[in-house]
């Protein structure tokens, strides 16, 4: 996964082929990837569905809770469809899923899709902002470090990225609150505002959580970019370009970044799952009504349908993002062949 510059790299850059043609092979690759995505999705639904079988004892009784009378237990049993054969339960659940019906929350007595739709914007805002922060920050700082390898800028950024990697994100979040909500009151310490209600307030609310979440991923990206760009900068063709009179900055931008973008695309793919998961913890620190806090509440309240819904929705997002990065990868690198 470390960037090993391919032979096509410098040529493509040299001929300014910014829109590489989609070859037949690439299309076939994308088609196969799509098929695989669908298969993964089906498998994921199976796994999520079978979460219910992990509930110790009779799930209906376990879920019924305090003061449960037999009627309630029966209600939950039929709500979960526990009185039917497993395969039938799964298929009907899957059928509901495809029509956007994830069942009702046992606690809120509201449709799971509605609950998730309420909470989703907050989580997505944070995860996407964190991703942007991490990619932009991580790549820029990584390039900076590579360009000034061994000098002060490199050392400082390396220390910072190390800190980012070794500190728990909720700790960072708490320190951000102490610094930028209390000591210097710039941003709110808790809560969330919808973008559609007030974009400025939205930004103010998500900036600290996004930083807390982005730090680890950004630090990881910084390290990778630093090492891959450093490698590239020592390659012959870059030296040639430099010798031909291209400025250092220009070389860095046009050549090194282009070739360094492969690992970044890959990282986006596999870090999306990490960010969506990590936002659970960060949401709690900042008391953001997102999917994470909903998940924790559902765990506490044993609200299985909601829990299944959240795991499923986030998984589907990750599956789609992975597919898109695969496609992007293919577009960026026409050399990709079905392997």
């Amino acid at each position: 996964m470390t960037a090993t510059p391919t032979a096509t790299g410098p040529q493509a850059a040299g001929k300014r082929r910014t829109h590489p043609k989609l070859t037949l092979g690439a299309l076939r690759f994308i088609g196969l990837r799509f098929g695989r995505m669908v298969l993964v999705f089906v498998m994921a639904t199976l796994l999520v569905f079978s979460l219910a079988s992990l509930v110790p004892g009779d799930p209906a009784i376990a879920l019924a809770g305090e003061d449960a009378d037999p009627a309630t237990v029966a209600l939950i049993r039929s709500e979960l469809g526990l009185d039917r054969p497993w395969a039938v339960q799964y298929l009907s659940w899957l059928g509901g899923l495809l029509t956007g019906d994830l069942g009702d929350s046992l606690i809120y007595r509201a449709p799971v899709t509605e609950l998730i739709a309420d909470r989703f914007p907050a989580s997505l805002s944070i995860a996407v902002s964190a991703m942007i922060l991490a990619v932009v920050g991580g790549v820029l700082v990584g390039m900076l470090a590579a360009a000034f390898r061994g000098r002060i800028a490199d050392r400082v950024t390396t220390v910072l990225s190390t800190l980012g990697i070794v500190t728990p994100n909720f700790w960072v979040g708490m320190i951000l609150i102490l610094l930028f909500s209390f000591a210097i009151p710039l941003f709110p310490a808790v809560g969330y505002t919808d973008f559609t209600d007030d974009p400025v307030d939205w930004l103010a609310h998500i900036i600290l959580p996004a930083i807390a979440l982005a730090l680890a991923v950004g630090a990881e990206l910084q390290r990778q970019t630093r090492s891959s760009v450093s490698d590239i900068l020592t390659q012959d063709y870059i030296r040639t370009a430099r010798a031909q009179g291209l400025s250092r900055g220009r070389v860095l931008w046009t050549r090194a970044l282009k070739n360094g973008s492969m690992p970044v695309v890959t990282v986006i793919g596999y870090q999306m799952a990490g960010l969506l998961g990590g936002s659970v913890v960060v949401e709690k620190v900042f008391n953001i009504p997102g999917l994470g806090t909903l998940a924790i509440d559902s765990v506490v309240a044993k609200d299985l349908p909601v829990l299944q819904g959240i795991v499923l929705v986030t998984t589907v997002i990750v599956i789609i993002v992975n597919f898109l990065t695969d496609v992007l990868y293919t577009v960026l690198n026409p050399k990709v062949r079905v392997s």
Partner: protein, 514 residues
């Protein structure tokens, strides 16, 4: 701290109720601060309030605990209200009276009041609501267990008959069982958007996140609402709650003791809801037979450092508990000795009872009681009682100790009722789900029954004080540890904040500074 402030409760008895109720009607909800407040409040002001618990359903009969009653009281009116100092005041009922010493109750209802769906409020609604609450599947069922009949006399008069006398019945109607629904709602069972007569209308309800309210323009007492909008925001984590009020995300917050000092130091005003919860330990001899022995229970009670818990863990925001009526509440016995922290004495008692080696238990605790449970775990270890803690989520503690008992010992928080007798009965009588091991306290049941039929206020207070003596003498199935306060913090932008003792959040008369 409770010596001179014990509140008189003029309406505790049934006799002469009518007159007092009418006198109070003139100033219901109105206070001296309010008239001045309205002059300086911003009519466009909105406030945002942080709450630790939010309702899951607008059906009050599905209310999990008494803590969130004030949230329902925003949209539903009580038959009988409470003022800031817990005195009864008229609500949807303007007058109430019992001619026979507490068995039949005659209520005169407010006229010209309507629900927010436009239908008129009348006696049929009250009847439908009370019967709904007393029915199968209702969490408020126990509150109305003694109600035998509700008779509609005319549109605005109602007669409620009990199975026996209870002079404390008006207090029941001032609690969660007195929140009045429309008869149509009861019939349809549709609580998606609440239909009430209350001060506010629900504008937007995001489950598990927040509820936005706007004032009910048709409320019978328009003076109580001085804002153009109200938002309740659910903030479960105590640190996040403190952070929210400190960073002015919310205007009012309820704080854990650990957070209160820091919030005060940050310049916010606070007040205490004293004795809001009783923290203690429930015991079940069915699962651990030695707990049936009063000496063992006393030993366990004595091996708890109440002073350390109140001052060390709760930073002084609470009081040691030695009885089941909170300091400052009607019937509190201030002459009672605290339960001593006496490890040696406790060891001796255990030895006398035949258990010098102590025992081992699993103890369940709610996550927010973690520090209390750990402190008790540590001090019990000194008398040879080894406790393994488990933290079942949600209602798991109640389930594992009361509903479907599997764990003999648990820390539990009890929210006291306004009147002491239903509280004592519900937790300590021998045939209640809260006392699954049927631990008996000699004399207690007689005293409860006597209190229910004694109309004379002085006598009644004395009887209630005696309940303190008998439960101090024989530790019941619940060891009282501490009365925990709520600390309410509010922004300096608010005016008209009163120190409501009936719960949180109560926002009558609160406005935003111009």
């Amino acid at each position: 701290m409770h010596k001179n402030t014990q509140r008189r409760r003029p309406l505790a008895g049934g006799v002469g109720l009518t007159l007092t109720a009418m006198l109070l009607a003139g100033c219901a909800g109105g206070t001296s601060s309010e008239s001045s407040a309205s002059a300086e409040t911003d009519p466009e002001g909105t406030i945002s309030v942080g709450v630790r618990f939010l309702q899951n359903s607008w059906d009050p009969s599905q209310m999990p605990g008494a803590t969130i009653v004030p949230i329902y009281q925003l949209v539903y009116d009580n038959l009988i209200g409470l003022d800031a100092d817990l005195n009864l005041v008229p609500g949807l009922a303007e007058e109430w009276d019992s001619a026979d010493g507490g068995t039949t109750w005659d209520l005169t209802l407010r006229q010209d009041t309507q629900f927010n769906d436009g239908t008129a409020f009348g006696a049929e609604d009250v009847k439908a609501t009370l019967e709904y609450y007393a029915g199968e599947g209702s969490n408020t069922r126990a509150d109305l267990a003694e109600m035998s009949d509700v008779e509609v006399v005319d549109d605005h008069h109602l007669r409620i008959t009990l199975t026996g006398a209870n002079v404390g019945f008006p207090e029941v109607l001032a609690g969660r069982a007195g929140l009045i629904l429309s008869s149509e709602t009861v019939e349809s069972g549709d609580f998606a958007s609440p239909v009430g007569t209350g001060e506010y209308l629900v504008e937007n309800d995001v489950e598990g996140v927040q509820v936005d309210f706007v004032p009910n323009p048709d409320h019978w007492n328009p003076e109580t609402v001085n804002v153009a909008g109200l938002t309740l925001r659910w903030i479960e984590d105590p640190v996040a709650m403190a952070n929210a009020i400190r960073s002015q995300e919310i205007d009012m917050a309820v704080l854990e003791p650990s957070q209160a000092d820091a919030v005060e130091a940050a310049g916010l005003s606070t007040y205490e809801v004293r004795g809001a919860q009783l923290v203690g330990i429930s015991l079940n001899p069915d699962l651990a037979p030695e707990l049936a022995d009063p000496q063992v229970r006393m030993a366990l009670a004595m091996a708890i450092d109440r002073d350390g818990i109140v001052n060390g863990l709760a930073f002084g925001r609470g009081a040691e508990a030695n009885q089941f009526i909170a300091p400052e509440r009607f019937g509190f016995n201030s002459a009672l000795d605290e339960i001593p922290y006496d490890i040696e004495g406790a060891r001796k008692l255990l030895a006398e009872a035949g258990y010098p080696e102590g025992f081992s238990y699993t103890m369940a605790a709610q996550a927010n009681n973690r520090s209390y449970a750990e402190a008790i775990q540590a001090s019990w270890a000194e008398i040879g009682v080894d406790v393994e803690l488990t933290f079942p989520p949600g209602a798991g503690v109640a389930e594992a100790t009361w509903t479907n008992p599997t764990i003999p010992i648990a820390t539990q928080n009890l929210v006291p009722d306004i009147d002491a007798t239903p509280f004592l009965w519900r937790h300590l009588s021998t045939d209640t789900v809260r006392n699954p091991g049927s631990v008996e306290v000699p004399g207690l049941m007689d005293l409860i029954q006597e209190a229910q039929v004694t109309a004379d206020e002085g006598e009644r207070e004395q009887i209630l004080q005696e309940t303190g003596e008998v439960t101090r003498e024989t530790i019941p199935a619940y060891i009282p540890v501490m009365w925990r306060n709520y600390t309410v913090a509010y922004s300096e932008d608010l005016v008209g904040v009163e120190e409501w003792q009936a719960g949180y959040p109560i926002l009558d008369g609160v406005g935003v500074k111009k």
